[in-house]
Amino acid sequence: MESLKELRNPELVRRMAEAVRRTKAPPATLMEVCGTHTVAIARHGLREVLPDGVRLISGPGCPVCVTPQEQIDRFVALGRLDRVTLATFGDMMRVPGSERSLEQARAEGVDVRVSYSPMEAVAAAARLPEREVVFFGIGFETTAPAVALAVLEARRRGMGNFSVLCAHKLIPPAMLALLTSEVRVDGFICPGHVSVIIGSDAYRLVAERGKPCVVAGFEPADILRAIQLLLRQIAEGRSEVESAYARAVRPTGNARAQELLARVFEIVEARWRGLGEIPQSGLALREEFAALDAARRFEVAVPTAPEPAGCRCGDVLRGAMDPPQCPLFGAACTPATPLGACMVSSEGACQAHYRYRRGQAVL
């Protein structure tokens, strides 16, 4: 905690902000792909310290936001089955499905419980042998290992009443997919926690396609450092992978976590809200774990339903639109009356922009 305190020294942060502001850089658009970065940047007003001509946009870094509507509908539908208890991370509760959010479904009698971890859901299944506990597997490479552990544990204990609706996604394939979109990105701030798992080397494929990648931690000083390194690369015409989070991220990542993932999951094509189908970008439970795979275990009918009229979450997630540019932003769509996932999720770009919107400087 000591070093964290030093890193948070307001004087240090102010000096770094100054340094970034004074960096000589050509006009550039930088993209972050991590919900925690989205929030940290908005919260500390880091956009205000960017040099002229440099833009910072949000990408598909919010795992809740990129979960397509039909996955939520599927999970709600599972909850309506006899004896099913749904378990989910709290962040999913308010995301609107086509008809209901989990929060609304709970008010109607669906048994939904918020879990802080997938192991908690396993424990709940052990305590409630008469219920079928289904855990919503949302999250990127950071969360998936914990879910893998929970699956293995459930199997070890011979539990017949626990399963996972797996909707995990992988970040690097999404970054590659973005390179072929019409959105201009000149460099990526790479996620912190995800990189702890997958390692900074995972972004080589992106750098090889001409886009600098710098891994950042979550303190304002970390993010400022990463921005500085990116701008320097752009000015010097380099595109490499660098890390400004060496205290937590190794080039090869966490081997044990990666083994866990490989053991339990296979890589499949996945649908991302806003980006469509991306090959090799999602995780599904391996065949041997079919009994713990809610998608295979239960039959539910899920209607295909359109997104709410006017909702531009997809464009926001691709970086094609800044939240304030969405016509619904701040009017029909606010944290109190959200229409789309980006406004509901605590790591959504729209909510971050709204909650941390600038007051006029009063000094």
């Binding site: 905690m1 948070r8 307001p10 942060v13 102010r14 902000a17 991590c34 919900g35 925690t36 908005a42 919260r43 500390h44 007003g45 205000e48 795992p63 809740v64 991370f89 709290g90 962040d91 999913m92 509760m93 308010r94 008809e99 929060e103 609304q104 709970r106 008010a107 109607e108 918020v114 802080y116 949302i138 999250g139 990127f140 950071t142 969360t143 926690h193 995800v194 304002p220 709410p308 009229a309 619904l328 009017a331 029909a332 606010t334 944290p335 109190a336 009356t337 229409l339 605590s346 790591e347 909650r355 941390y356 919107r357 600038r358 007051g359 006029q360 400087a361 009063v362």
Partner: protein, 353 residues
């Protein structure tokens, strides 16, 4: 669109009804002291029952401002938590609501809704806590009621209270009285209660145990008022935390409040727990802290009076009241940037990543 489904169209009605349109049922979020609860109160209760003066305060005034009257209900889960229980909470919460009006407690009532199966030994422990808290507060529980419902129809015990207090002479404290130029004080670190309850409920253990700050503030407030009679506004930051309480005052008084983030006291253990859980201490509940708003020239005297009392030892100045944008709360961050501090919407929920 299927019949019966509420249209997802912009609704430009009075603010109090916006969140209501999308919900046909009461949600847990309606009870968390944030925006949704405020909308429910405005849209369902106040619109039908009216409101006493001063509108929006925690305690109503009666008898030409000489008496304060408040009511509360306690449904905390779990009923026993580090440093306290539902009984202590019930008495302190009621006393503190009266204190926000500058009133000393004259009498408290307590109604108990008991679930069949509640251990009598637990009930005794809870009532002992109430007696203890009442003594600390120089208050008396003089009347009550008891109901028992079948197993499963109440969560062990709910307590509903009301309190009558006598407003100190010459005192006129209300959330509507904050004025530009005033200074915002806070009697101590925030968030201890919310995190203590959360940690016990979820079975989370932190290296340093987080204990509730639940305490009766009546005497501390009396001493404050003796030192500074013209306190303008007071509010205790309970559900919804500091953010909710400040927004209420800003709206009631039609002023802007600026808070300096670095000056808001938060215990390191609470800050660390919040970070771990993805919570913001500015939204975490306290049950033994008071926001005090006074004229700038009275700030020093007020701080001294607070700090002289054991419950106000860590009192600090956290911000000021100004004019620019009525009803808004601004936060100045450590970087010197400003952002708007809204009331929270929905339950506080942990991150996933």
């Amino acid at each position: 669109m299927p019949a019966g489904q509420v249209a997802n169209l912009p609704y430009h009605g009075p603010e109090g009804q916006r969140t209501m349109m999308r919900n046909e049922r009461v949600l847990l979020a309606h009870g968390d002291g944030g925006q949704m609860m405020a909308d429910l109160i405005a849209g369902v209760f106040v619109s039908r029952l009216g409101t006493a003066e001063p509108a929006g305060d925690d305690a109503a005034r009666l008898a030409a401002g000489r008496l304060a009257f408040t009511t509360d209900a306690f449904v905390v889960d779990p009923i026993f938590f580090p440093g306290g229980d539902i009984g202590r909470l019930a008495v302190c919460g009621t006393v503190n609501d009266l204190a926000t009006a500058g009133a000393r407690p004259l009498a408290i009532s307590a109604s108990f809704i008991l679930e069949e199966g509640l251990r009598i030994s637990d009930l005794k422990q809870i009532v002992d806590s109430m007696a203890q808290a009442a003594e600390e507060a120089d208050a008396r529980v003089i009347t009550g009621d008891t109901k028992v419902v079948p197993r499963g129809k109440a969560d062990l015990i709910y307590i509903a209270t009301s309190g009558v207090g006598e407003v100190l002479k010459g005192v006129s404290v209300s959330g509507a009285n904050a004025q530009p130029g005033d200074v915002v004080l806070l009697s101590g670190p925030v968030g201890d209660h919310g995190l203590a309850v959360l940690s016990r409920r979820e079975g989370l253990e932190f290296e340093s145990e987080i204990v509730t700050d639940c305490a009766p503030l009546g005497r501390m407030v009396q001493e404050l008022l003796e030192a500074v009679r013209r306190v303008h506004a007071m509010r205790d930051p309970t559900r919804g935390g500091l953010a909710a309480a400040l927004n209420e005052i800003a709206r009631q008084s039609q002023v802007e409040i600026e808070i300096i983030e670095a000056q808001v006291p938060v215990r390191p253990a609470v800050a660390a727990a919040c970070e771990l859980l993805g919570l913001d201490p500015l939204y975490a509940a306290s049950e033994g802290r008071m926001i005090v708003i006074v004229k700038a020239q009275d700030a020093e005297a007020a701080l001294s009076a607070l700090r002289a009392h054991p419950l106000g030892r860590e009192a600090a100045q956290i911000g000021r009241v100004q004019e620019h944008h009525a009803g808004r709360v601004l936060l100045r961050t450590a970087l010197g940037t400003h952002r708007i501090l809204d009331r929270h919407v929905g339950e506080q929920m942990p991150r996933i990543c």
